[in-house]
C-alpha cells in the first residue's frame, strides 16, 4: 500500500525498494514451485471458509498460482486463480 502511495505521489523509489518489491513478487511464484503442499494448504483453508456459506463441488475445485498482467497492463504479476463451482447456498449465507 505504501508503495502504491509512493507511486501515486510520483516519489522516486530507492533502488532497494525496487529490489524488495521485485523479490517479493518473484518469490511468490518460486515458493509455490518448491512446495506443492503449500497450495494444498491454501486450498483446504479456502474450502473451509466457503463451506460455511455455500455448498461447493470439492472435486472439480481448481486453484492455481499463475501470472497475469497488472491493472495498468504494464507488468506481469503473480495471481491466485480459483475456480470453485457452487452447488447451492447454505442457510447461514441467505
Amino acid at each position: 500500500m505504501i508503495d502504491l502511495f509512493k507511486l501515486l505521489l510520483g516519489k522516486k523509489e530507492s533502488s532497494k525498494d525496487v529490489a524488495k518489491e521485485r523479490l517479493k513478487l518473484v518469490l511468490i511464484h518460486d515458493r509455490s514451485n518448491v512446495s506443492p503442499q503449500f497450495l494444498e494448504m491454501v486450498k483446504s483453508e479456502i474450502i473451509k471458509v466457503i463451506q460455511n456459506y455455500m455448498e461447493i463441488d470439492e472435486d472439480s475445485l481448481d486453484i492455481q498460482l499463475t501470472r497475469t498482467s497488472s491493472e495498468d497492463g504494464e507488468r506481469v504479476v503473480p495471481a491466485l486463480v480459483a475456480n470453485i463451482p457452487i452447488k447451492g447456498m447454505k442457510n447461514a449465507g441467505r
Binding site: S14, S15, K16, D17, A19, K20, R22, L23, K24, V26, L27, D30, R31, V34, S35
Partner: protein, 266 residues
C-alpha cells in the same frame, strides 16, 4: 558427538568457501576440534583459501572409495591446533560421491571432531545433495542482491524438504554506506523476506581478499571488520549470545582511524 554444519547458498560466489574457512578457523582458535570438508568436487578452493594446497595427497573421493583411510586424507593445519581439512577431488566429477557415502563419512567424523563444517558447491544438483546429506544444521549465505536472495530462498525450501530444519542466515558483503543511501537492501529487508534466523552479518571488506591472497583466514586478524564479524558468528555457533555488530559505528570508527592516519575516507 560432533555437529555437522553445511555452508550453502544456491548462487555461486557469494562467500561459502570464505565463510567455511573463517568459521572453521574461528572454532579451532576457540579450542574446538574441527574438520573442514570441501565437497566442491572439480572446483576445489577451500585448500587455497586455507593456504593448505601444497599438502594434499588424498581427497574426499579417495576416502569414500576407500582408496585410503580417512586419517590419511585429513590435512592437519599446523598453525591452529585441532584444525583439519578434507580436500575435494579436483579431477573427478560430482557424481563420484553419493549421498549415502556422505552420511557414512559424516557419522565417522562426528566421532572424532566437535564440528564438521561442509563447504557446499553452488547449485542445487548432485553436489548440493551430497553436501547436505549428512548435515545436522545449515547456514545459508547470501549477499544483499535480488538474485542471491532469491536463490537462498530456494535453498531454504530444499533444506526444509530434506528435513534440515531452522537454517541460519549469513548476509555477506554488506556495505553500510549503500544501505544508508537506500541502494542496498538492509538486513531487516532480507530477514523479513527469507523469514529465517540471522546468525551474522559480514561487511564487504577488502581484508578478505588480502587474507585470501595469503591463505590466512581473516578471522584471526584483529584489525579486520569481516574478521570481527566471523569471530561473532563463531561464538553464536557455540551458543553464545553476541549482539550484532553495528556496521555503521564501525564504519565511523574506521573512517576516524583513517583520518587519524591521514587517509581520505572512502
Amino acid at each position: 558427538m560432533g555437529e555437522v554444519i553445511v555452508i550453502t547458498s544456491g548462487k555461486g560466489g557469494v562467500g561459502k568457501t570464505t565463510t567455511t574457512a573463517n568459521i572453521g578457523t574461528g572454532l579451532a582458535v576457540s579450542g574446538k576440534k574441527v574438520v573442514l570438508v570441501d565437497t566442491d568436487i572439480g572446483l576445489r578452493n577451500l585448500d587455497v583459501v586455507m593456504g593448505l594446497e601444497n599438502r594434499i595427497v588424498y581427497d574426499l573421493v579417495d576416502v569414500v572409495e576407500k582408496t585410503c583411510r580417512l586419517k590419511q586424507a585429513l590435512i592437519k593445519d599446523k598453525r591452529y591446533d585441532g584444525l583439519y581439512l578434507l580436500p575435494a577431488a579436483q579431477t573427478r566429477d560430482k557424481n563420484s560421491v553419493k549421498p549415502e557415502q556422505m552420511i557414512e563419512l559424516c557419522d565417522e567424523l562426528r566421532q572424532e571432531f566437535d564440528y564438521i563444517i561442509i563447504d557446499c558447491p553452488a547449485g542445487i544438483e548432485q553436489g548440493f545433495k551430497n553436501a547436505i546429506a549428512g548435515a545436522d544444521r545449515a547456514i545459508v549465505v547470501t549477499t544483499p542482491e535480488v538474485s542471491a536472495v532469491r536463490d537462498a530462498d530456494r535453498i531454504i525450501g530444499l533444506l526444509e524438504s530434506q528435513e534440515i530444519r531452522n537454517p541460519r542466515l549469513i548476509v555477506n558483503r554488506v556495505r553500510a554506506d549503500m544501505v544508508k543511501r537506500g541502494d542496498m537492501m538492509s538486513i531487516e529487508d532480507i530477514v523479513d523476506i527469507l523469514a529465517i534466523g540471522l546468525i551474522g552479518v559480514v561487511p564487504d571488506d577488502e581484508q578478505i581478499i588480502i587474507s585470501t591472497n595469503k591463505g590466512e583466514p581473516a578471522v584471526t586478524d584483529n584489525k579486520s571488520m569481516a574478521g570481527q564479524a566471523y569471530r561473532n558468528i563463531t561464538k553464536r555457533i557455540m551458543g553464545e549470545d553476541v549482539p550484532l555488530m553495528d556496521l555503521n559505528t564501525s564504519d565511523g570508527f574506521l573512517s576516524k582511524m583513517k583520518r587519524l592516519f591521514g587517509i581520505k575516507p572512502a
